[in-house]
């Protein structure tokens, strides 16, 4: 009880705002729908898992007079049941459709969020031809009038499928068996991939497979498992890729030249990550040069890439969210692990984070560097 109370008092100074919720089951996904709702989904293998559409507490959406809105709760707007664990969920923009991925990994499930009731209904599946035991396909969405689903387990099985007709629109056509860890659509024709080995690339779907790639994962790191995200505006103009390894290495690459990483640091985390599949690195949509990482422990860390110098040095986070560690209400010995996090699309310093103890936090951190 004591450390929790101490932390809460500290939190008055560290956070502008802080909300803590208990879901009925832990989630590994936090997918936005607009800027007022998120999807969460259970990932247990032995039971029916729930997929929920939650709307944020109203006070987080109002611009003025926030003090006059006492409601601090999430509302469950829609829900559905999945027979298998949900490891990834993507909303198809401008539609009421969702695509989920889990185990067994031989198909993707497409869902519809009902308009006149609270149901999320399974409507169709997308076959993934490789049956790969414990591997499950990564998903990203090409949003357009005819949405395309980008998915794959390995580089060799990467393809884009038209959602409605299920026709294949693009395939990698290669035999490389590198396992994929993340996929990200950048615009109507480009996507980025990251393999567990740390190999990353940018692909233009208008051409036959010819990605611009990095030569090897971050120098100075010794293997492990990697994930990455494109975003941000590092030192020069144009987007950058941040690549995170399970050994705590965080690497920054300029999209125009993936062969030479710009900078890299060793994050202030205990390594290696106990659950490398949960590693996550995200760029802040509302802040210059900031990103967040999670997947090593019960914390989420925010870094300012501008403060990095050269290669391989230790980096200190700008902010560390420890709420999941201190407010662990379960009382079990093992500290919870942050399973995923995401930035609020509009509010620059607001994040949502979820942990293995089914907690869900919404927090708005104070940049202690900024003058009052």
């Amino acid at each position: 009880m004591e450390p929790a109370e101490d932390w809460l008092v500290e939190s008055l100074r560290l956070y502008q705002d802080f909300h803590a919720f208990d879901l009925s089951e832990a989630t590994r996904v936090l997918e936005w729908i607009g800027d007022k709702g998120v999807f969460v989904a259970g990932y247990e293998s032995r039971k029916k898992n729930e997929i929920l559409h939650l709307t944020l507490p109203f006070r987080l959406s109002v611009k003025e007079n926030q003090g006059l809105f006492p409601e601090r709760d999430f509302k469950v707007r829609h829900g559905g049941f999945s027979d298998r664990p949900v490891f990834d969920l993507k909303h198809v923009p401008d539609t009421r459709l969702l695509v989920t991925s889990g185990l067994p990994g031989c198909y993707l499930q497409v869902w519809q969020v009902a308009e006149d009731s609270d149901v999320i209904q399974a409507v169709s599946t997308i076959a993934v031809h490789e049956k790969e035991g414990h591997l499950w396909p990564r998903v990203a969405i090409f949003s357009s009038v005819a949405p395309g689903i980008l998915h794959g387990v390995r580089l060799s099985s990467l393809k884009v499928v038209d959602l409605e007709s299920q026709k294949t629109m693009y395939t990698s056509g290669v035999s490389d068996s590198d396992e994929l860890s993340s996929l990200q659509v950048l615009d109507a024709h480009t996507f980025a991939f990251c393999c567990t080995s740390g190999r990353l690339g940018l692909v233009d779907t208008r051409q036959k497979w010819a990605p611009s790639e990095n030569l090897s994962p971050c120098p100075g790191s010794g293997g492990g498992r990697w994930c990455a995200e494109v975003g941000g505006r590092g030192r020069g103009p144009g987007p950058h890729i941040a690549s995170l390894g399970s050994d705590g290495h965080l690497c920054l690459l300029d999209c125009r030249d993936l062969s030479h990483p710009e900078s890299s640091v060793q994050c202030a985390v205990s390594t290696p990550s106990p659950a490398p599949e949960l590693l996550r690195v995200t760029w802040a949509p509302g802040l210059d040069n900031c990103l967040a990482i999670s997947g090593f422990d019960g914390t989420v860390q925010v870094y300012d890439v501008m403060s990095w110098d050269g290669m391989g040095g230790q980096a200190e986070p700008l902010f560390t969210h420890r709420g999941h560690v201190f407010l662990d209400g379960n009382g079990i010995d093992t500290a919870p692990l942050v399973t995923t996090h995401t930035w609020h699309p509009q509010k620059p310093r607001t994040l949502l984070s979820a942990a293995s103890d089914a907690s869900l936090h919404v927090w708005d951190w104070v940049d202690l560097r900024a003058s009052c």
């Binding site: 008055l12 802080f18 208990d22 009925s24 409601e71 601090r72 709760d73 999430f74 009731s117 609270d118």
Partner: protein, 564 residues
């Protein structure tokens, strides 16, 4: 198949929020009788004409049950009983009975004095209505008549709030009212036994909410107070004396101590007397097993909080003041508000709902210019914060409650059926609720596999089949008593004492001098060294552990000095 009919009467367009009619086994019960706070005309009252257009309500209804003192659950009661007409019993818990009339009177004053309403219940009507109240204790089975019985369960939420079980023969309904499943600083969490009602009635809003933790709400409160005080501002917290005020005081006091703050905190004098009254109600209310979830301290003695004097309001510098009344409609809190409203460094924190017509309601609606008496305009520059501390259950909580009570069916009121398909599936799946005329029975036995078939047999049978000897586990305890008489006389004294105390149990005095209580054996023996002391050997089987330890502590207290 039992037929139970539920008709939410509600008020305004919000059907089911505040008044529910239940017909069970030929009996008619009205659950709660609240006002819709958003309307000023007849729409604020439930439509009682639905119950019976011509007949008398007293003839039709067997009883009325009020779950707790919030106005949206009891606000229409005097109107219902005195203006529409009902003379039957009105059941509620003791604290609810004590607090309801105070709230109703406050509400009446606001409606009549502030808003000039004509067709409203009078103070006398409130008194007459309360005369019809029959107060109940928790877990006490109350016979309304030969067939209808009710029982109240602890609901948490606010002082005196209860969930009610209504039973006619073998049919029963549980109505939850407002409740919460996570304990807070002084009220504890709701609890119900595996009563397995045919129907559980609860609010649908709970099932679709995921509540922000109490700690975060408290954190927000502390942050706002702290920031105001740090910039030299004053914080006004209008409170209704009985309830939230105490909890917020404990919170502030703990915080002040931890952070070593010096700004004064005041409690207006009217509150201290009411706090004592509240304390007395509270102590008897919590005389149940929920006590152990509470913070162990005297919650009504504060080190940092002092009595307020109206002159202090003019003192310079930061301070925090708790003052009544809670909706800023009159009295001290309004006086202080008028003094402090013009300064943007100050803050007013409203910890609860404010009725229309009050200053509290106006500022919570965003009004920044208020017309006061004598056409004076008050400009509100101080920060206005609306905070909700009410403990309500949420989606997780309702599942817990359903898990505790194990109802056959669940009815969610105040929701649209079409829109709650997911919720329905969720509850069904979680508890496999099936319509069934039979009630399940609890069996106790051992599952054995014999000749490739499973058999459920009694434990003794199982042991026999397996050729195992049954072990008896007995505990023995020694209790020393000061008694210089002979052992046989000590044993006789023990026998008469226990016989008079344990009226529900079988107490026997055996020929060999030992005393038995059910399966527990008590023997008196002389102490080897001290003739003035006797040693009682108390022995019991592990199945009777509870009774055994109870007897031991009882005997340790000594025997009464009875004339021999």
């Amino acid at each position: 198949m039992p037929e139970i009919r539920v008709t939410p009467l509600g008020a305004g367009q919000d059907v089911g929020r505040s008044c529910i009619l239940v017909s069970i086994g030929g009996k008619n019960v009205m659950l709660d009788c609240g006002m819709h706070m958003g309307f000023n005309d007849d729409r604020r009252f439930p439509d009682f004409s639905y119950i019976t257009r011509n007949g008398r309500l007293t003839d039709f209804l067997d009883c009325v049950i009020i779950s707790h003192f919030h106005l949206d659950h009891c606000g229409a009661l005097p109107y219902f009983s005195e203006m529409v007409g009902y003379d039957g019993p009105i059941y509620m818990t003791h604290p609810t009975q004590a607090i309801c009339p105070i709230l109703l009177e406050d509400y009446r004053k606001i409606a009549v004095d502030k808003k000039g309403e004509a067709n409203f219940f009078t103070s006398q009507m409130i008194k007459d209505c309360m005369k019809k109240v029959v107060a109940v204790h928790l877990h006490q089975t109350v016979q309304v008549d030969d067939e209808l019985e009710i029982k109240a369960y602890y609901a948490g939420h606010v002082l005196g709030a209860a969930m009610f079980q209504i039973k006619v023969g073998s049919e029963s309904v549980v109505y939850t009212g407002d409740y919460n499943m996570t304990p807070d600083r002084h009220l504890g969490a709701a609890w119900i036994d595996k009563c397995r009602p045919n129907l559980l009635i609860t609010e649908s809003t709970y099932a679709t909410t995921i509540r922000d933790s109490k700690r975060c709400r408290e954190r927000d409160f502390l942050k706002k107070v702290h920031e105001t005080v740090e910039r030299g501002g004053k914080v006004l917290i209008p409170v209704f004396a009985l309830g939230r005020a105490q909890e917020l005081c404990i919170l502030l006091e703990t915080f002040w101590e931890r952070v070593n703050l010096k700004a004064p905190i005041y409690f207006s004098t009217g509150l201290t007397e009411k706090a004592n009254h509240y304390y007395k109600l509270f102590i008897t209310w919590t005389n149940q097993k929920i006590r152990k979830t509470f913070v162990q301290r005297n919650m009504f003695e504060f080190k940092h909080i002092k009595a307020f004097d109206r002159a202090f309001a003019d003192n310079p510098g930061p301070m925090v003041v708790f003052a009544t009344p809670g909706m800023l409609h009159a009295g001290q809190s309004l006086q202080i508000f008028r003094k402090w409203a013009g300064n943007e460094k100050n803050m007013v924190i409203m910890p609860g709902y404010c009725v229309q017509g009050t200053v509290g309601h106006k500022i919570l609606s965003g009004q920044r210019k208020l017309e006061m008496e004598g056409r004076q305009v008050l400009e509100v520059k101080m920060q206005v914060e609306y905070m909700s501390f009410s403990a309500h259950a949420d989606a997780k909580g309702i599942m817990q409650l359903v898990g505790q009570a194990e109802p056959e069916s669940v009815l969610l009121v105040h929701g649209e059926a079409k829109k709650m398909e997911f919720l329905k599936q969720k509850i069904e799946q979680e508890f496999r609720l099936l319509p069934s005329a039979k009630k399940p029975r609890l069996l106790h036995g051992t599952l054995i596999m014999k000749d490739s078939s499973f058999q459920l047999v009694s434990s003794e049978q199982a042991l026999k089949e397996l050729g195992l000897a049954e072990h008896q586990l007995r505990f023995t305890c020694r209790v020393h008593l000061h008694d210089s008489r002979k052992e046989q006389e000590t044993a006789a004294r023990v026998y008469s004492h226990l016989k008079s105390v344990l009226k529900d149990h079988c107490v026997q005095h055996l020929p060999d001098g030992s005393v038995t209580v059910e399966s527990i054996l008590i023997q008196a023996a002389a102490h080897s060294e001290d003739p003035g002391t006797k040693v009682l050997l108390v022995s019991w089987t592990y199945q009777d552990e509870e009774l055994g330890s109870y007897l031991t502590s009882l005997l340790k207290k000594g025997l009464p000095q009875a004339p021999s």
